[in-house]
């Protein structure tokens, strides 16, 4: 179900429409996320930060974007 000329990806369970050729760095920028504070998984594989701006997304890609939050156990 991609938009014409675009791709649809899932970020943390939410659908996101992007122009074809978008990279992980583009997604983080669109979401106003500080790349130094997050980690990204694409289709269950961690994507190293150095590859964010080179990694182009495909239609249907599943992204997880995580950060650190307060916690001790569980």
């Amino acid at each position: 179900m991609s938009a014409p000329g675009g791709i649809q990806v899932t970020v943390n369970g939410e659908s996101l429409l992007l122009p074809a050729g978008s990279t992980v760095a583009d997604v983080l920028q669109q979401l106003s996320l500080d790349t130094r504070r997050v980690a990204v998984e694409v289709n269950l594989q961690v994507l190293p930060r150095a590859e964010h701006s080179a990694h182009r997304l495909d239609d249907g890609d599943q992204l997880e974007v995580v950060t650190f939050v307060g916690g001790g156990a569980c």
Partner: protein
């Protein structure tokens, strides 16, 4: 008094008290409590970024730069999820250390030892320094050490329960059985509980709720610092044997009227 270094996987820590970052009334109180605790290692959870309601404040802005950040896999119920979370934590924090949790039961938050062992093996193969949160079971502790854990972290009582060390013998047995550091993780309610853990010979204590949910977290953090130090000193000093009857500590000679 000689030096008494606390070393995990080659990293020397100044404090034998390791604390959490959850449940504090505010980031400001957390920061002050961290300082009062003297801890130089704190644990943090790895979670999805909330895309809808994201505040401007980030936890990491409120942790002193001199403190080592230990990502954890809290709330993971399978070895696979714990491994994925550890990898994400490493990428987000550039640390290859992880406080490994694989939970097996929602009510008790007891660890799933099978999953814990599987995840420990997998992460050690990937070069992680793995600190597993485990039951107070000497067999599980030995298996985790054999699997390559850099320390074992038996619970004193269920997470957040504040019940104190429920089975002192178990902690003693684990300390006797493994060579890696033993850190009592979970169950501490108040300062004396931390002291008991240290008097038993534990190498360190990890706690979150007992400080964060105290009426005065900063004061409790200071109390815990002293409790851990006192317990360690008492352990090293060597306690007197327990005896059934009294033994006078004043001379028996020269008592008037005899």
């Amino acid at each position: 008094m000689g030096s008494d270094p606390f070393v995990i996987a080659g990293r020397e820590l100044r404090s034998r008290l390791i604390v959490g970052t959850g449940k504090y009334p505010s980031f400001q109180v957390m920061r002050e409590a961290h300082e009062a605790s003297g801890a130089d290692m704190v644990t943090v959870a790895v979670r999805r970024v909330d895309l809808k309601a994201r505040g401007p404040e980030n936890l990491l802005d409120h942790i002193d730069k001199s403190i080592f950040i230990l990502p954890n896999t809290a709330a993971c119920y399978t070895a696979d999820d714990a491994v994925r979370t550890a990898r994400l934590g490493r990428e987000a924090g550039l640390s290859h250390w992880v406080k490994l949790e694989v939970i097996g039961d929602e009510k008790t938050l007891y660890p799933d030892i099978e999953g814990l062992l599987a995840a420990t093996r997998a992460l050690v193969r990937e070069g992680f320094v793995v600190l597993p949160y485990t039951t107070d079971d000497v067999v599980a502790a030995k298996k985790l050490e054999d699997a390559g854990a850099a320390a074992v972290m038996p619970l004193g009582a269920p997470i957040g329960s504040g019940l104190g060390i429920q089975n002192r013998i178990s902690i003693l047995l684990i300390k006797e059985a493994v060579r890696v550091p033993v850190i009592v993780d979970a169950g501490v309610g108040t300062a004396s509980d931390a002291t008991v853990a240290m008097e038993l010979g534990a190498d360190g204590v990890l706690m979150n709720t007992a400080i964060a949910l105290a009426k005065e977290p900063v004061r409790m953090a200071g109390a815990m610092r002293k409790a851990v130090e006192a317990g360690r000193d008492a352990f090293l000093a060597g306690r007197i044997p327990r005896k059934m009857y009294a033994t006078a500590s004043s001379p028996l000679e020269g008592v008037i009227g005899r």
